[in-house]
């Protein structure tokens, strides 16, 4: 899976192409080792440059990072390419007194929510963005207080203001009988807290307006000033259902700052554990889809498999959700070869059960009726919204960080396929989940049978610096960007989880479908609000 000749040419050609187009208005630095091109440009060329990278060169948007670095603001736009094309960090700086930034979202819609987030939390305003306003902080948050600014005191509750009636959008359907249906934030079962306004004429949902961040815990802010070890607890626990992937991305960012690499055994075990997490997550997602269609026996049988996997994880790793395993420099403790082999054998049994289940679901017409051609997202829209993970792969976008930007033990040693479907409907998403679960079991088997011997941890000395860490979490690409000070404390922490990105595109699937399909479409997206809200 090494870079092909074409790709290598593209990465090395990129700086020249950028320089010939924008010439003197930017400064380019190349880090060959990390495959990273850093471009510092004027705010004026920002949108052009990002658009060119995104649409003409096929780079995806990872995240936007605003950083207060007196006497100036540093805005960092991170884009990443396919295998061998590395990353491009576009930086732009302007004085702290300036509060207006040119928006890139008119050109790259994928940046829409990220700019809204920065506007809400930093008080920066994006010129040209069509819709700014309350987003993460709700109506009762006082205007002008920006929690992500360094001066803000995050240790205690901020006084709230009296707020009027909740915001209601203008209805676009004017026919008699049309109405706005509120859904949430509290649901009838274990669904997470989130609110939707569904504009409907009674049957079809015309428009979906989400109001999220009921679960905003300010993880990025409360991490500031913490020792990295302590912030790791936040990275691991803000989204308990994908704890291993997020803690892995966080640890890899720290390892990049300290310029160390986890030992080969730790890198291999990280693959094994990450794939076990994916297997469990996808099993739970299938159970969710079955129960959303009221297929009770299938839901029960799948949740038996899920509990089997939770118990297996606990026996292997000491915790049912992989908490406490990743540590900067490797793993907190070694796992015996024998236990890993046993886990791999158990994973094969799980795969057999999943295959049987898939076969039965494939021939259950009442189930398929609810999924096929329901909640469709086209490939074009998936690209424009920068969707990630199984949702994107069901719409024909096969980008996967394990292949595009190999990390841990992924890369030459491990062989697997990235499943892809073209239809982009609920059934395609279900098929992708099953196909990925199979690939995960293959990977677990490969790793368990070729585990290198040796230590599982490299010592990491606290260093000053900044770096990006990433992992393909069960729901898609996860990015953790860190800046540490000389004693290893966190100065700035930025998390871009896959659920945030995919919730942005969720309305594409929910609109123009019947009201009763809404929970099923939600289940096939399989997103987490804890992961999105942070």
């Amino acid at each position: 899976m090494g870079p092909t000749l074409n790709n290598v040419l593209k990465f090395t050609d990129l700086p020249r192409m950028v320089a010939s187009r924008w010439g003197d208005s930017l400064e380019i630095k190349i880090d060959q080792e990390r495959q990273l091109i850093q471009i510092t440009c004027d705010p004026e060329v920002l949108q052009d440059l990002c658009q060119w990278l995104f649409y003409r060169q096929g780079y995806s948007l990872a995240t936007l990072i605003a950083e207060e670095a007196p006497p100036e603001w540093v805005m960092r736009y991170i884009l990443y390419g396919d295998t061998g094309n590395g990353q491009v960090h576009v930086l732009t700086r302007f004085p702290l007194s300036r509060t207006k930034v040119p928006s890139i979202s008119p050109a790259i819609h994928a940046a829409d929510w990220q700019e809204r987030e920065i506007e809400d939390l930093f008080g920066l305003s994006f010129e040209g963005h069509p819709k700014l306003g309350d987003f993460i902080l709700h109506e009762d948050w006082p205007e002008g207080a920006s929690p992500m600014r360094t001066a803000f005191d995050a240790s205690r509750l901020h006084p709230r203001q009296e707020s009027g009636p909740p915001w209601r959008p203008e209805m676009i359907v004017k026919t008699p009988g049309a109405f706005m249906m509120p859904v949430g934030p509290v649901y009838s079962d274990t669904a997470e807290s989130a609110h939707f306004l569904l504009e409907t004429v009674g049957e079809d949902v015309v428009r979906t307006i989400p109001k999220f961040f009921y679960k905003y815990r300010g993880v990025e802010k409360i991490a500031e000033g913490m020792p990295a070890d302590h912030a790791l607890l936040l990275a691991e626990r803000f989204s308990g259902s994908s704890a291993f992937a997020h803690s892995l991305a966080f640890c890899q960012a720290l390892e990049a700052i300290c310029k160390i690499q986890a030992p080969p055994r730790a890198r291999a075990l990280r693959v094994l554990l990450a794939e076990m997490e994916r297997l469990r997550h996808h099993t739970a997602a299938v159970a969710g889809i079955c129960s959303s269609t009221a297929l009770a026996v299938a839901a029960s049988q799948t949740s038996i498999i899920e509990e089997d996997l939770l118990r297996l994880t606990c026996r292997l790793a000491g915790h049912r959700y992989f908490f406490g395993l990743n540590t900067p420099g490797g793993l907190a403790r070694d796992l015996p070869d024998g236990e890993c082999k046993k886990a791999s054998e158990a994973a094969w049994i799980v795969l057999d059960k999943l295959k049987e289940l898939h076969e039965m679901l494939r021939f259950t017409s009442s189930f398929l009726d609810r999924l096929e051609e329901v909640g469709s997202v086209s490939r074009k829209k998936a690209v424009a919204y920068g969707l990630v993970g199984p949702v994107a792969r069901a719409s024909g976008v096969s980008r996967d960080l394990r292949v595009a930007q190999p990390y841990a033990g992924y890369g030459q040693q491990t062989k697997f396929q990235v499943p892809r479907e073209a239809e982009g409907d609920g059934y395609a998403r279900l098929r992708v989940l099953f196909a990925e679960a199979e690939q995960s079991v293959n990977l677990i088997h490969q790793v368990a049978s070729t585990l290198p011997a040796g230590p599982v941890r490299t010592a990491a000395a606290p260093t000053e610096g900044c770096a990006l860490g990433w992992a393909e979490a069960p729901r898609g690409a996860a990015f953790h960007w860190l800046r540490t000070d000389g004693s290893g404390n966190i100065r700035r922490y930025r998390v871009m989880p896959p659920s945030f990105v995919n919730w942005h595109g969720f309305h594409l699937a929910a609109e123009e479908f019947a009201f009763q399909d809404f929970p099923i479409i939600m289940a096939t997206f399989g997103l987490s609000n804890a992961e999105c809200d942070r």
Partner: protein, 238 residues
């Protein structure tokens, strides 16, 4: 549809015998640190100092554990000479009120309402498991209800993020008396690693009166069962 009935029958009964028999299948609980006597106060201090959440404290040679703050990070037992001993088990629920005050308001079935006050997903996943075949709360007369109007018990997970304060208050107010509130997991009990802060409280007791706390990060399904049995007066209160 017949094939699904057959599949269900073929799978057989998976359900635990708890509370009638003890459940001992491996992997049902991550365990937790247990109070321990060290060789000297210095060792005890060093071990307690490794806890990032302040759950461990020492008095002389003795290390005490405040389970309400423990998040199972496992750092107290990792590659050190003086590792904390961990205990298995899952009967972790504890009452916040005197046994007299908790006097059996319920003796038969319970209807349970679940509220997510900023939970990370692990607690919710464990709550989901209690209605699955392995744990099957229905056999005990416990049911999840979609509305607070018919709920006896409110299960709340998460540190209580600010926007969830009002929904929690309203949900509690809508429940008929008698009613019980159960705080699920370290976050709901003490704020965990998230609260108190500008965005979250130090647990749900800052908003509604808590009757029973289940420590753990997350508490395993059997610990949830233990708490519900306690509400129903079917187990001794610890």
């Amino acid at each position: 549809m017949l094939k699904w009935v057959r599949k269900g029958l073929r799978a057989g009964i998976k359900t635990t015998g708890y509370p009638h028999t003890r459940e001992s299948a491996p992997g049902i609980s991550p365990g937790r640190p247990a109070a321990m006597l060290c060789d000297g106060p210095q060792e005890a201090g060093a071990v307690a100092g490794r806890c990032p959440t302040g759950a461990l404290s020492n008095q002389g040679n003795m290390i005490r554990v405040d389970h309400r703050r423990c998040v199972h990070c496992g750092r107290c037992r990792q590659d050190h000479e003086h590792a904390m001993a961990w205990e298995g088990g899952y009967e972790w629920a504890g009452g916040r009120k005197a046994p007299g005050e908790m006097a059996a308001a319920f003796s038969r079935s319970l209807h349970i309402r679940i509220l997510d006050a900023g939970a990370c997903g692990a607690c919710l996943s464990e709550i989901k498991q209690i209605s699955s075949p392995y744990y099957n709360i229905h056999r005990l007369g416990f049911f999840i209800t979609p509305t607070p109007r018919t709920a006896d018990v409110l299960l709340v997970a998460g540190p209580l993020t600010d926007p969830m304060r009002l929904p929690l208050e309203r949900c509690y107010a809508a429940m008929p008396d008698p009613k019980r509130v159960v705080a699920v997991g370290a976050c709901a009990v003490s704020g965990g690693i998230f609260g108190p802060s500008f965005a979250a409280a130090a647990g749900i007791s800052q908003c509604v009166p808590v009757d029973i706390e289940i420590p753990g990060c997350p508490p395993p399904p059997l610990a949830l069962l233990h708490a519900l049995l306690m509400v129903a007066g079917k187990t001794k209160q610890t």
